[in-house]
């Protein structure tokens, strides 16, 4: 019996299936509603509804709707293209993507007219059609067309038409695409630079401009095709924005780390782990990091486009200490989820995708922006997400049609990153390198696995990039630097040999081994702690104590002389070492902090110091500005005399000021005034002094009286010398004249 037949899962509705659904799945009220609609009795509704599979009845139904709107035609076409049935929400999304806008109301209207059949959910037996059409969850219902209706629509040229759905069809102009490999090459180039040098940070956390300009040399613009305009320019705001994005990715992929807010340095271990991982694992990790990006915000990108607050925005985007992107993690997850669920096949109008993201959950993005305190418009944000973030990671290709409508489509990398497809199997990649006798390695990027590029950065210096060919120069420095990061001659030779187009020349092999031999001869520790003690046995005891206390920590100890030992430890371990050494007292000299005074003032220009306790900076400068007084020197006390000629040679300008700056903090107990005067006399013109013998001092009662006295004819005539605010010194020979003048002026005098 027809009513007992199982419902099909796909394809247009057949007449028996339609009757069965109606009989088993619809409530009485629904039957009555449809009967009224179709002009019959409720009891006959099953027959009437079943008759929908007859072409004559279908034509009647369509006529009741009236003239089909553009949206109606698109709905029929999309549903027909989907095989005759689809979930209402999927239809809505599909048509949003095709630029039809939100068709929820049209879907309801067509269902109310009975031309779209609302299918009861699995197990549902009493579907209240009128109610469900008014409810929000109507969009979760499956809708279907009958075969008769499809045939009728087909005869009218509506079904199976991509044009009706709004799918784009035509020629693409101005297409631009960035490849995932180009992004990874930029990340690798940046990470390699950070492995060799420190990117200095300003106090704000943004990179020091001069330092950054060194690091971005060799980074390519997204989607750059013109070899003359390939590189990033720090002064172009959109480029600076991209640089901020790269820095954030490098940091959050773990390829770099901020050290003490002063600079950004590479993380060798993490870089090796990332760049030597298989393509699919790197892709998965990249998408995770992009979605959770904290150090860069696509929400700030729209401000750059219209030039508002450009400097502040770039400062924030480049900052290595601000997490301005973290408030958008949820928004990114939402958009990724929408795109994963959308039917993004082929070119799609960009505005349609933006509208889809805004419409699918209308409240979500505004709520995220409000919670984050961002005054962002949804369409601006989604656009920045697509044309910046997704474009830069090589997930979308952008273009325009002949009418200038912006279009986008997922690239193969984008389909893989969004989990639409698996990574293609790559054939064995050999022969991507040409190693020339001048130690230049040319690598064909399209054929080179990322690991090969990473190893070339490890042992070489990229000197050229053009036409998808990168050239690396292998030099003594670059190869030995590679050896410092775990590479060795045998592995380097094996790598080059395996991927080289031709067998590796003997000369290259020989030189790689020779550089390895030389490399091990000198080691440079960048920063550590030097402990000195005159008594080697005592130093041994102290060292034993330190080693024991730090037995669980990484500590490198180099004995460099009987009384000197160098310690290389982490900053935390250094603090622990200092705590251990506190019990032994002694002297602390910090070359980036306080240097204790170490000079003893002997006399005149002569100073002494103890070689054991003096800091190296003081000794180094003394060597350049003084001569040893050999007869006064002992092994534990060195005596030097400042040499005016050497002083002026070392500090040709402002010599006296320099010597004062040098001596004042270094002389124990401060620099005596006598020595300062002596130095001045020797280095500058001798100070002058006026000595008055046998003087009379006239002291007035007030400053005002003194000023009046000082301006009298008598004071000028006898050359009265002001010695305070109220006193003058006058030569003895003018005593009588002075008394006479003061009497004449009516000044009451007291003689002392």
């Amino acid at each position: 019996m027809a009513a007992r037949q199982e419902r099909q899962r796909s394809g247009p509705l057949t007449a028996p299936e339609l009757e069965a659904i109606f009989e088993r799945g619809y409530a009485q009220s629904s039957r009555r509603f449809l009967a009224n609609l179709w002009g019959g009795e409720a009891d006959e509704a099953a027959n009437l509804f079943g008759a929908m599979s007859e072409s004559a009845r279908v034509t009647d139904a369509l006529e009741r709707i009236g003239e089909l709107s553009r949206s109606d035609r698109a709905i029929f076409a999309a549903l027909s293209n989907a095989g005759g049935r689809a979930r209402a929400e999927n239809l809505r999304k599909e048509l949003l993507l095709r630029g039809q806008g939100d068709v929820s109301d049209e879907l309801r209207r067509l269902a109310r007219h009975g031309v779209l059949v609302v299918l009861p959910s699995s197990g549902q037996s009493e579907l209240e059609l009128e109610q469900i059409l008014d409810q929000q969850n109507f969009l979760q219902q499956e809708l279907a067309l009958t075969q008769a209706l499809i045939d009728e629509l087909d005869s009218r040229g509506i079904t199976h038409s991509a044009a009706e759905v709004g799918a784009w069809d035509g020629e693409i102009t101005n297409s631009r695409v960035e490849s995932l490999q180009s992004l990874e090459l930029n990340l690798l180039h940046l990470a390699a630079g950070l492995g060799q040098d420190v990117l200095r940070l300003n106090k704000s956390g943004a990179p020091n401009r001069r330092s950054l300009s060194r690091f971005i040399t060799g980074l390519t613009r997204p989607a750059a095709t013109d070899t003359h305009d390939l590189w990033l320019d720090i002064d172009t705001p959109t480029h600076a924005n991209y640089i901020g994005f790269l820095l954030a990715l490098v940091s959050e992929l773990g390829l770099s780390t901020v050290i003490e807010d002063r600079g950004l340095v590479g993380q060798f271990g993490s870089a090796q782990e990332y760049f030597t991982a298989p393509d699919d694992r790197r892709g998965t990790r990249l998408v995770q990091v992009v979605q959770n990006l904290k150090g860069w915000s696509e929400g700030l990108s729209p401000s750059l486009q219209d030039g508002r607050e450009q400097d502040d925005v770039l400062e924030a985007q480049l900052s290595q200490t601000r997490a301005n992107g973290s408030v958008l993690i949820g928004a990114r997850g939402y958009i990724f989820s929408v795109l994963r669920r959308a039917n993004l096949n082929g070119w799609t109008p960009l505005e349609a995708v933006i509208e889809l993201c805004g419409q699918l959950d209308r409240d979500y993005l505004p709520r995220v922006f409000a919670n984050a305190g961002l005054s962002l418009q949804v369409n601006h944000y989604v656009r920045a997400f697509i044309v910046d973030l997704l474009f830069w990671i090589g997930a979308v290709e952008l273009g325009e049609d002949s009418d200038g409508v912006e279009l986008m489509r997922l690239t193969p990398d984008g389909q893989r990153l969004l989990d639409f497809s698996e990574a293609p199997e790559k054939p064995e990649q050999n022969g991507c390198l040409f190693i020339q006798p001048n130690f230049e390695a040319m690598v064909f990027l399209d054929a080179a696995p990322m690991e090969v590029l990473y190893r070339l950065y490890q042992i070489g210096e990229r000197v050229n990039l053009a036409d998808r060919v990168a050239t690396f120069k292998l030099t003594a420095e670059s190869v030995q630097r590679g050896y410092s990061t775990g590479m060795n001659a045998e592995r380097a030779i094996a790598l080059l040999d395996e991927h080289s187009h031709a067998p590796l020349a003997d000369l290259i092999e020989f030189q790689l081994r020779d550089w390895e031999r030389i490399w091990g001869r000198v080691t440079l520790w960048s920063s550590g702690m030097l402990i000195r003690h005159e008594d080697p046995d005592r130093l041994d005891t102290i060292l034993g104590q330190v080693r024991h206390a730090l037995r669980d920590k990484k500590l490198v100890v180099e004995r460099i002389a009987a009384g000197a030992v160098f310690l290389d430890a982490t900053p935390e371990a250094e603090d622990e070492i200092l705590r251990q050494l506190e019990r032994y007292g002694g002297l602390r000299i910090d070359y980036l902090g306080e240097i204790p005074p170490s000079l003893e003032s002997v006399e005149g220009l002569v100073f002494a110091y103890e070689p054991m306790t003096v800091d190296f900076e003081t000794v180094g400068i003394l060597k350049k500005i003084s001569e040893e007084v050999r007869e006064e020197c002992t092994p534990r006390r060195r005596v030097v005399a400042l040499d005016p000629r050497m002083l002026t040679e070392y500090w040709p300008e402002r010599t006296f000021a320099h010597i004062i700056d040098f001596l004042r903090p270094r002389v124990r107990g401060g620099l005596p005034s006598e020595q300062l005067l002596q130095l001045k006399a020797r280095l500058l013109s001798p100070p002058r002094a006026k000595l008055l013998h046998a003087v009379v001092v006239v002291t007035l009662e007030t400053r005002e009286d003194a000023q009046l006295f000082g301006s009298t004819e008598h004071a000028r005539a006898c050359d009265a010398l002001p010695i305070s605010d109220v006193s003058f010194a006058i030569a003895q020979e003018h005593l009588d004249d002075t008394i006479e003048t003061l009497e004449r002026l009516g000044v009451q005098m007291t003689h002392l």
Binding site: S527, G528, R532, E617
Partner: protein, 95 residues
């Protein structure tokens, strides 16, 4: 005991800790001698300690490294290298 003799005894008992020090350590004394012949370290603040080592304040590290590179010596570098030229006061306006 004179004052100077007391000072000397005190110095002999003094433990001196230098922080933020860079160290260049050679494989053997001959290598250091060879480097010192080739290298002009006059402009650098440094101190030779023992037969194989030169120590210098960390501020001198970049100049020491560059001086070695200029002579074709590429040492194994342990730790991070900061370039003091990046903290040039001329760049203060960036801060």
């Amino acid at each position: 005991m004179t004052c100077r003799e007391e000072d000397t005894v005190a110095a002999r008992e003094t433990l001196v800790v230098h922080r933020n020090i860079s160290l260049m350590l050679c494989e053997n004394p001959a290598v250091l001698e060879e480097i010192l012949v080739e290298l002009d370290l006059d402009e650098l603040i440094h101190q030779r300690l023992g037969a194989r080592a030169i120590v210098a304040p960390t501020q001198e590290l970049v100049r020491l490294r560059d001086a070695l590179h200029e002579r074709g010596v590429y040492p194994r570098i342990i730790g991070e290298v900061f370039d003091p030229s990046d903290s040039d006061p001329a760049l203060a306006e960036e801060e």
